[in-house]
Symmetry: C2
Subunit: 352 residues, 2 copies
Amino acid sequence: MKSDGRAFDIKRRTIISGLALLPSLGQTLFPSFARAQGSQPTPLASWNDGPAKQAIIDFVHATTDQTSPRFVPAEDRVATFDQDGTLWVEQPMYTQVVYCLDRVPVVVAQKPELKNREPFKTVLSGNREAMAKLSLRDLEEILFATLTGMPVEVFDAEAKKWIETAEHPRWKRLYTELTYQPMLEVLQYMRANGYRTYIVTGGGQDFVRVYAQQVYGIPPEQVVGTASGTNFGYGKDGKPFLTKDPKLLLNDNNAGKPEGIHLEIGRRPNAAFGNSTGDRQMLEYTGAGGGARLMMLVLHDDTQREYAYGPAQGLPDTKVGTFTQALYDEAKKNSWTVISMKNDWKRVFAFD
Amino acid sequence: MKSDGRAFDIKRRTIISGLALLPSLGQTLFPSFARAQGSQPTPLASWNDGPAKQAIIDFVHATTDQTSPRFVPAEDRVATFDQDGTLWVEQPMYTQVVYCLDRVPVVVAQKPELKNREPFKTVLSGNREAMAKLSLRDLEEILFATLTGMPVEVFDAEAKKWIETAEHPRWKRLYTELTYQPMLEVLQYMRANGYRTYIVTGGGQDFVRVYAQQVYGIPPEQVVGTASGTNFGYGKDGKPFLTKDPKLLLNDNNAGKPEGIHLEIGRRPNAAFGNSTGDRQMLEYTGAGGGARLMMLVLHDDTQREYAYGPAQGLPDTKVGTFTQALYDEAKKNSWTVISMKNDWKRVFAFD
């Protein structure tokens, strides 16, 4: 939209104006241009044909075809995506929790009085069995100690450094490589059709914003997540800065998801994607609007390529990403689409 | 961005591809197209030539010219605007406060027990002198009683109905007509140059979102304001909805402005516009970033066409929109630009 970009665009347009009369030649010579102008050559390429893929395509067609009774003007198109278990791997532990545990030694070095205090002592011991037994309250204490108390810029730099190097224990790859290729294609497909794609995550808003643009193509202002407040203050040099405050402003899980959507977006989404009971209210809220609606849940039923968990298929439930039988029943009752990772996805990761 | 729009765009482009080689003819035949491609024919038409107008133009050129050392990529361009006193009239009372006072009879009709309780009794009396003496605490009670407790949709409908009919006592015109034409031109000019324009207001986020798109061309997700929480729940029909909760989440004034910007935008603005001490921290925060920065303050010094208030020019200070001498001094010290309504604006309102 900037004037220079436009000037460049006009020049490029002038140059290719002859070629534009020969669309096929234009496409051969300028494949990226052709792709930018029309729809993707093969949208959702990593999806098997089936009801899940069809539901996405039908929804997009119904809401972007101006002759459709369910047409939605471009400025009103909003799609929200949970992150953990919906856009990337959440097992055996939420990535952000791994980050917080990794940060404990640094925090203890800065505050030695924590060294012999629980839950820090247990985390420092490295005893995985003991760590697995930490309570939710213990975990919260670790999260606050490692995610708050520092200037926003310091946190951003630390998290960025970590996310660019930390590896998942199973794949020995960066966490950011463990995004689901089919879901990245959904993000691209929705955006190519005028949808603004938002992440609405139980994870920390500031944490996810550090890498969302690079990993998902989603800018910071389109990441809604669990958020602590910040405190505005001045440094010794008089320069103002924001410090991350331990006061929780928004717990962006369960009912907190529609509440967070109202706070930061102010529109009801037309489409919502999740994978657990934490996403239930977001899907219900999305479904309660008029016109075309798309609600989808990723079911993890693929031990081979990823994980299988949740009781929907008689699989053992786990601590994270709870896809309960009740949620499965609600999905069926409300005609939400359940995505079978095993059956609907040709491949799970880009490196598959 | 939607596929249909693109298809149309391609056709149009093919048709005009010949004309594109003759830019001046193209502009004559397709004025709107020409405008869409280049800059506005006369940006900032309601501004007198002078340092304020020049500061805006210089900033936009410096940040959008790819050869400029202070170039800012389009995706990073953010400009924030206070509303009351910066985009529209705030005297003799903030418009939203007028709304809340107008709503008191309705709230009392629903809750008769409030009828003989202060501050509601005073508001119902209609005694303007007594109302002017209400404390800040009284006012807060009125705000919570009239702005919270109802479903979001009910609030939106009520506020919309009011804003479409209520008139300002001096001009006998809709409040939405009392926006400053020069500032509407700044919004348009910034957007035409790739800036995303945000309102960052001490006013209620939900209230301003009701009319921001129509009045300022600013969508709900680009309105940051004082915000109460919402509560997700279910109606008797099982349908989920959000109720406006009296719990204050964000007081978007003073330090709350940069804090709100971090919460809902997650980027430091490149440019910020305000008119009072409530905007000070937003301008300081904006100014603390690197590269080109634009900080501007509207000074109300025009009794004839609008109002004159604030002690900067020896004028009496008022309850709202406090432009203190200290703020004026800080502006001068930091090279913020003070906009003189009297000298910098050719006209104040569109109807002038």
